[in-house]
């Protein structure tokens, strides 16, 4: 099952890259720091090994091109948002960690201050968009079908069709998992990674990439901490070890604990 998924995802990357194969222009990448170098090295490992020797070079080339295209689009998105004074957040995390519940709570609390747009990514349904819309935010649902993360192209397609002057705040709820979203930045100011006590205290050390790439880590469902006996101190230490700059906040979207604190860490 897992093998099948990996092969499948490898193909998805190749297919996705074909959409951009005609692009010929290059652009200068900002000199990466050590952390960014490490991230790009990890990225190169996946999926390339599926390609036979005959196509290996072109697969590597196309994959790099697509990554550049995504980064280029993400910078364009960020510029468009900044030009319209929109604060933006990409929220990633496993299925059921509490992303939708946290966004709903925040939207509720800041709705007098900000006109909010929420883009929800899920493979199918508009369940999450409907839940958030009940808290008076405008929503757009993206159903990725078989893709396990949103990418900058999806987001750009939405914002280029919107009058951005109508918004002050953008949330993007990414497709639920702790793996694929690390392949695509979306051009938001900040990325928030959400995990919860129900996922066990090893979840952070087992998914280092997203913690290295995020600005804020939320450990949610602390109302269940006693019942589950989850070692939250270990989770906090793991996040800090992976990314000393990351802000960690423990929350309960159910009881509302520390949601205000999260809002203030987000600078809202």
């Amino acid at each position: 099952m897992i093998d099948k998924h990996i092969i499948f995802f490898g193909w998805r990357i190749i297919i996705f890259t074909l959409k951009f194969i005609y692009s010929t222009y290059q652009f200068e990448l900002i000199m990466p720091n050590n952390n960014e170098e490490e991230i790009s090295r990890i990225k190169e490992l996946e999926s390339i090994n599926l390609s036979s020797d005959e196509i290996r070079d072109s697969v590597v080339y196309t994959k790099k091109q697509v990554e550049k295209e995504n980064e280029l689009l993400a910078s364009k998105i960020n510029l468009d948002l900044k030009n319209n004074q929109i604060k933006s957040f990409d929220i990633v995390g496993a299925i059921g960690a509490g992303k939708t519940e946290i966004i709903s709570q925040i939207v509720d609390k800041v709705q007098k201050k900000y006109r909010t747009l929420v883009i929800c990514g899920d493979i199918t349904t508009r369940v999450d968009a409907d839940r958030i819309e009940a808290h008076n935010a405008e929503t757009v649902q993206i159903n990725t079908g078989r893709e396990c993360a949103l990418n900058a192209y999806h987001i750009h397609q939405i914002i280029k069709n919107k009058d951005l002057q109508n918004y002050d705040l953008l949330f993007i709820e990414n497709v639920g998992n702790l793996i694929c979203p690390s392949d695509f930045i979306l051009g938001t100011d900040k990325r928030i990674v959400v995990v919860s006590t129900t996922e066990g205290e090893w979840v952070i050390e087992k998914h280092p990439m997203l913690f290295k790439m995020s600005d804020i880590a939320v450990i949610n469902k602390i109302d269940l901490k006693e019942r589950l006996g989850t070692d939250i101190e270990k989770m906090i230490a793991d996040a800090k070890k992976l990314n000393p700059k990351i802000e960690v906040v423990t929350t309960s979207a159910k009881t509302g604990t520390n949601i205000e604190k999260l809002i203030s860490i987000m600078g809202l």
Binding site: I15, L18, K19, I123, T124, R126, V140, Q141, I142, N143, T144, G145, R146, E147, H154, Q157, I158, N161
Partner: protein, 139 residues
């Protein structure tokens, strides 16, 4: 939504009766009225960016991206790797593989029986095995 679609369909018959600007405005106002209706397609989990409205008996190939602002009429067959945004497809249309259409209108009964074609702000009509044989009117 249906009224706006009917108006656009009527215009296709006598396209010179309207300016490019008027047509663009009609499309824009249609897009604000498209509601999301995507549960009824035949195919294998395409990507949808809402709003997308699908009429009955729409067949969708692999790795297709539809939306935002897409209306697809009844009995339409969409090939693999197709990408449509800000586009309306009337009834009984066939789209080949790897077509990327943005801000386009495809007239009823059109057959785009070819692959690898990109198009912007154009009305397309006819039954064609090659892109060259299609009737195109840009706006």
């Amino acid at each position: 939504m249906k009224e706006e679609l009917k108006a656009i369909e009527r215009i296709l018959v006598d396209i010179k009766s309207i300016s490019k600007e008027e047509l663009n405005n009609m499309l824009k106002s249609l897009f604000t009225k498209i509601s999301n209706h995507i549960d009824n397609y035949i195919g294998d989990y395409p990507t949808f960016i809402e709003p997308v409205y699908l009429e009955g008996n729409v067949e969708i190939g692999d790795d297709v991206l539809l939306g935002p602002n897409v209306y697809i009429g009844a009995n339409v067959k969409i090939g693999d790797y197709v990408e449509l945004s800000n586009t309306i497809i009337f009834d009984d249309v066939i789209l080949g593989n790897n077509l990327k259409l943005e801000n386009c209108i495809i007239a009823p009964n059109s057959h785009l029986n070819f692959e690898n074609f990109k198009c912007n702000s154009t009305i397309l009509s006819g039954k064609a095995d090659s892109e060259k044989n299609l009737t195109k009117l840009s706006f």
